[in-house]
Symmetry: C2
Subunit: 350 residues, 2 copies
């Protein structure tokens, strides 16, 4: 026998009696139990049961009988369509999930749409695998709202991409003794260091050798970030402020933020090199012993001010590219005071 | 014997006598011939000869003897540093190249820094392989300046990426007969088409089937772009203007531009699907016979207004990603009147 539900519009739930508790809740993780055998379903749960043909109809207070199409067309609440798609997708992948609120579950911290249970577990088992937030591809994400968890982004053709967001503190073991007082010239937007001791490049991985002639100690071209860092520590004979000033001239406040991140990475014994070819600010090497035996760079770092607003489309592009080159995408969010928050975002297959 | 050059500051060239013509021009493609055996070198050519140690010094009118370092520090002209790097890089790769102007060469069309000769050829052979424009990574490129040729972009750490820019007219052979008057509902920012004939999806590749239940004729979710196009041709029973209005509500003018490109691609028998996962507007399939036997999508298309200004960093990101997934990056530049200019940009290894 197919059951029908009653729309309790005041509470925003669909009540189902009969053997609903055993049939939908206990064995398949829908809804939460009420008195007796009755259960209450969230609209997204009721929509899924209607869609599967498991629930015959939902009857409104005014006596209207809603089937899947008419239930969807009422669009109860904002982003109902995308939440339904994600709910159905995870169900299809064999997971149970509930609205991330009382009385379905003990709500997880932060803003979330669903609590997803570990595979094989349900709402009664007291375990939550992760909190899931659902976004349409046009919904912007302010950095202040970033929090550890999973994002599901539904694109305009209703395909879903899952991203795992985690706090990420880069650290490494790249330490190298540096020379002092090397001869350097500031040229437009780069710095030439004239034939410094080889270890500046070979161990410290600063600069890029000028090619085309053979020398034991090659002349290096350094970026303004590298040069500002080297000047600050007396490695090259330029005034740090002169280099920083040139940086701000060619790149504005962006240079200040990037220098804060560059400096923080070097302090953590991680070597940042330009991420230009990947469209990022830096690619990083955690454990440089020598440039001759350089490993794979592990992270792509993009620097943003801490009031930046992410467009899901840009997130998708960054994370996709990083994934394609076997690196992890990290966002460094810099406050006006120079403090840095680090977040990694990676694709996830539930 | 090492030669020296005289800086002819008025003409902006360095004159070299002795056997310079034979030694530098005839056998190695530097400069242009003057009277007798004398030649004139552009500053970038002289810098390269100084750098290689082939030219001993350049003497200024006031009698100053410049060697490589002091010559570079004078920075004659804007972006001299980046032009030198590209000149040296191509020389290192075995190519000869000249400033793209009289009297070095018959100037190629458009804005270019260098004329690069075919491998094994030089300035006297009357053949130009391509016109090359040099940009620093912070130099913006307005779309109006895009032209067929090669861009060399020098990043902040002095690495060079070469891009080939070409006009690109997409075309394909994806034609499919479409049904009429299918039942559809507009839901927030997408459209559900209720159980249309299978060929709408299977041959026309419109929409995305709702999964989780088995039907011969699956219900499709279409993007607003797909729905606007289908409504316009009477395939679904929604008013075209209703769909377009919703599109403008959720996406503004961007929707209008994307619809122009979507429509143009369909008219060229190319199937556009969302490029969201690649951070682009569309991925395209030129020759769809059926979704079951779908080939690889060939292009990633990004839509911009025709007054867009490219940042080299964004170009690098787009082209890199497209290359990584074996697709060609195409930019569709849309005028206010809806006309479209198509350009492909691909990485090039000289």
């Amino acid at each position: 026998m197919t059951l029908e539900g009653r729309f309790d519009e005041a509470a925003g739930v669909i009540r189902v009696g009969g053997d609903a508790r055993q049939r939908y809740h206990d064995s398949r993780g829908y809804g939460y139990p009420l008195e007796g055998n009755e259960i209450a379903l969230a609209p997204v749960e009721a929509a899924h049961l209607l869609y599967r043909g498991d629930l015959g109809a939902v009857v409104t207070k005014s006596g209207e009988r809603l089937e899947f199409r008419s239930f969807m067309a009422r669009e109860p609440g904002a982003k109902f369509g995308v939440r339904f798609l994600v709910y159905a997708d995870l169900r299809e992948r064999g997971f149970y999930l509930s609205p991330a609120r009382e009385p379905w579950v003990d709500p997880p911290d932060g803003e979330a749409d669903f609590a997803v249970f570990p595979r094989g577990k349900g709402p009664g088992d007291g375990e939550i695998e992760y909190a899931l937030r659902v976004l349409g591809e046009r919904t912007d994400v302010p950095t202040a709202e970033l929090e550890a968890g999973v994002l599901a982004i539904v694109d305009e053709e209703s395909e879903i991409t899952y991203f795992e967001v985690s706090a990420r503190d880069p650290s490494g073991s790249s330490t190298a003794a540096l020379p002092e007082g090397c001869d350097a010239d500031l040229l437009e937007d780069r710095v030439v260091v004239w034939e410094p001791p080889l270890e500046l490049y070979e161990r410290g991985f600063y600069g890029q050798p000028l090619e085309g002639r053979e020398y034991d100690e090659p002349t290096l071209q350094c970026s303004l970030l590298e040069a500002a860092s080297l000047a600050e520590r007396g490695v090259i004979d330029l005034e740090p402020e002169t280099v920083r000033k040139r940086g701000r001239e060619v790149e504005g406040e962006r240079f200040v933020r990037r220098l804060a991140v560059y400096t923080a990475l070097r302090e953590r014994d991680v070597v940042p090199k330009t991420g230009y070819k990947f469209g990022a600010d830096f690619r990083t090497y955690a454990d440089v012993e020598s440039v001759e035996n350089l490993g794979h760079s592990e992270l792509l770092v993009r620097v943003h001010p801490d009031d930046h607003v992410f467009e899901p489309r840009d997130l998708a592009l960054d994370v996709r590219l990083a994934h394609g080159v076997r690196k992890t995408m990290v966002f460094a969010l810099v406050s006006d005071g120079g403090e840095i928050d680090w977040w990694s975002i990676e694709r996830l297959t539930p």
